[in-house]
């Protein structure tokens, strides 16, 4: 179907913390320039999925390959965007310093940031629409803006794969738009994107593929094919769908 190179290969993979399997039977492929949405209820294992792609949770069965390598060896080309509200807003760092962290791998331990590093930081902030806030303290920004700063940090690292953990949670409309724009431009440059979200509308809007998760995989494939009421009902179970799934699906069809 696609001539682009595969960037993520899941081959009947199971991941586990110790003896307890958290996710089983993951199977699918993502290509360059594609985005996949991880959809599932709370506790479904979406964050674990992302950690597995970083090589932080071991694969106990099957195989996961990131950029043609075992996950832990691909970290150099993978950027991770945590949820902004997990970070301490009192921490004394400026927006610019946070984005510069994305360059640390290139800068190394001792060298001072070069003109190129500074230009990349400025460019990344520009792309998330926060060019004017470089000198402000990270914690003084709104939740949505902090999320954009963390995306800018990832952009500055020039990743070939971007992993985002619930980036749209509690984010205002302006920031959501800015995040989607920036993710879109990364995709256009050939990066693959994996994003966990509760928001089916965003999955439709921004992602080519969907992975439905709840402890094991309930579907993986093109958004239109996978996001069906039946599959969502299976993923979320009866109660959850009554509360949230159905209503969203109706607005989507």
């Amino acid at each position: 179907m696609s001539e682009r190179a595969p960037t993520l290969v899941l081959d009947r993979a199971s991941v586990a913390y110790g003896d307890v399997p958290v996710l089983e039977e993951l199977h699918g492929v993502v290509h360059e320039g594609e985005a996949v949405a991880l959809i599932g209820p709370n506790g479904a294992g979406k964050s674990t999925f992302i950690k597995a792609l970083l090589g932080l949770v071991p694969v106990v069965r099957g195989r996961i390959e990131v950029l043609g390598r075992p996950p832990a060896q691909a970290r150099r080309d993978v950027a991770y965007v945590p949820q902004a509200d997990t970070l301490d807003p009192d921490f004394p760092v400026s927006v610019e310093q946070v984005v510069m962290m994305g360059r640390y791998r290139r800068i190394g331990w001792l060298r001072r940031p070069s003109a190129e590093d500074r230009a990349e930081v400025a460019d990344a902030l520009e792309r998330v629409g926060l060019a004017g806030r470089a000198r402000d303290r990270f914690g003084t920004l709104s939740g949505g803006q902090r999320q954009r700063v963390l995306l800018a940090r990832a952009i500055a690292a020039k990743p070939r794969m971007l992993l985002l953990d619930e980036p749209f949670n509690g984010v205002d409309a302006v920031s959501q738009h800015a995040l989607l724009e920036a993710i879109g431009s990364l995709k256009a440059k050939g990066a693959s994107v994996v994003v966990s979200t509760h928001d089916l509308a965003i999955a439709h809007l921004a992602c080519d593929e969907v992975c439905l998760l709840n402890r094991h995989q309930f579907g993986f494939g093109p958004t239109g094919d996978v996001l069906t009421p039946e599959r969502l009902r299976a993923t979320y179970g009866g109660h959850a769908l009554e509360l949230r799934g159905d209503r969203v699906i109706v607005t989507q069809t």
């Binding site: 970083l54 932080l56 970290r75 150099r76 993978v78 950027a79 991770y80 945590p82 997990t86 970070l87 301490d88 921490f91 004394p92 760092v93 400026s94 310093q97 946070v98 962290m101 640390y104 791998r105 800068i107 331990w109 001792l110 303290r137 963390l150 940090r153 992993l163």
Partner: protein, 293 residues
């Protein structure tokens, strides 16, 4: 002048150098302790170094204190790193147990000596006025090692403190980095044992950093400021305790006086920080009114 006059005496000059260097070192390391919220872990370290001090003293007299403290400090730094990596046991409870157990071991050992209260006081609260040149050299070496280590690792340390998951994702070896910081804290405690004792050193670690933090939001300012506050408190504390005892016949323990001076400086910094934030807020409000207009 009163700020300089006491230091014509050689033992006072040595004490001054020791406290100024220690204050600067502890101020620097303290910023990381503060950012990582490791105050309780550091306090545990200060207490677990104590039995090492006692054992070192029993085995080799005053010269053994440094090495005993070093062995105990590094051993507990490793233990604490392992303990805080896996969060199965309630971390607080585990630390509290470790702290009191090893502290009790130290007290039991020291109480078997004759004249033990005097030794105990020295180990717990330090005797900065009897610091020797060899001890100054030890402090200097520890300072150079620790500051060099933190300078080299400043970027991963910052990333790990700010965003532990992001650091792991970026390939930073978080466990190893935590060990390095815990060992750095242990080294500060070891260096400070003779001067301020195992109990008071926690103030040297925490208070300058907290004072600097309330004065600035920028790390590039906070670190040198904490360093300065630590060093200045060492100096002023010595002057105050000297003046009180020589000028007024009131004997003040110098280590404890340094801590009280530190706390007073923190009070001032906190008040100044409060004023600064108020001013900053009204500036921001004016700016947003201007932007809206």
């Amino acid at each position: 002048m009163i700020l300089f006059e006491p230091f014509h005496l050689p033992f006072m000059a040595r004490a001054l150098v020791e406290l100024v260097v220690l204050g600067a070192l502890a101020g620097t390391v303290g910023v990381l302790v503060l950012l990582r919220r490791l105050a309780f872990v550091s306090d545990t370290l200060t207490h677990t170094v104590f039995p090492g001090v006692v054992i070192g003293h029993l085995m080799a007299g005053d010269g053994g204190i440094f090495w005993g403290a070093l062995a105990a400090g590094v051993a507990t730094a490793v233990l604490l790193t392992l303990l805080t990596q896996r969060r199965r046991v309630s971390e607080d409870a585990a630390l509290a147990m470790l702290l009191t157990t090893l502290f009790a071991v130290g007290v039991v050992l020291v109480s078997r000596q004759t004249g033990f209260t005097s030794d105990l006081t020295a180990f717990l609260f330090g005797r900065v006025l009897t610091v020797t040149e060899a001890q100054l050299a030890q402090t200097a070496v520890v300072t150079v090692v620790v500051v060099a280590l933190l300078a080299v690792l400043r970027r991963p340390l910052l990333l790990r403190a700010f965003d532990p998951e992001g650091a792991q994702a970026a390939g930073v070896r978080v466990g190893l980095l935590d060990l390095v910081l815990n060992v750095a804290v242990a080294l500060v405690v070891v260096a400070a044992v003779k001067a301020v004792g195992t109990i008071l050193v926690i103030a040297l670690l925490i208070v300058p950093a907290a004072a600097a933090r309330s004065l600035s939001d920028r790390l590039a300012v906070i670190v040198p400021l904490a360093c300065l506050v630590g060093a200045a408190a060492g100096w002023l504390g010595l002057v105050v305790s000297y003046e009180a005892s020589v000028g007024y016949g009131v004997r003040l323990a110098s280590g404890a006086t340094v801590v009280l001076v530190l706390v007073a400086m923190y009070g001032l910094a906190h008040a100044a920080g409060f004023v600064r934030r108020k001013a900053g807020l009204s500036r921001a409000r004016r700016r947003s009114v201007l932007e809206a207009a």
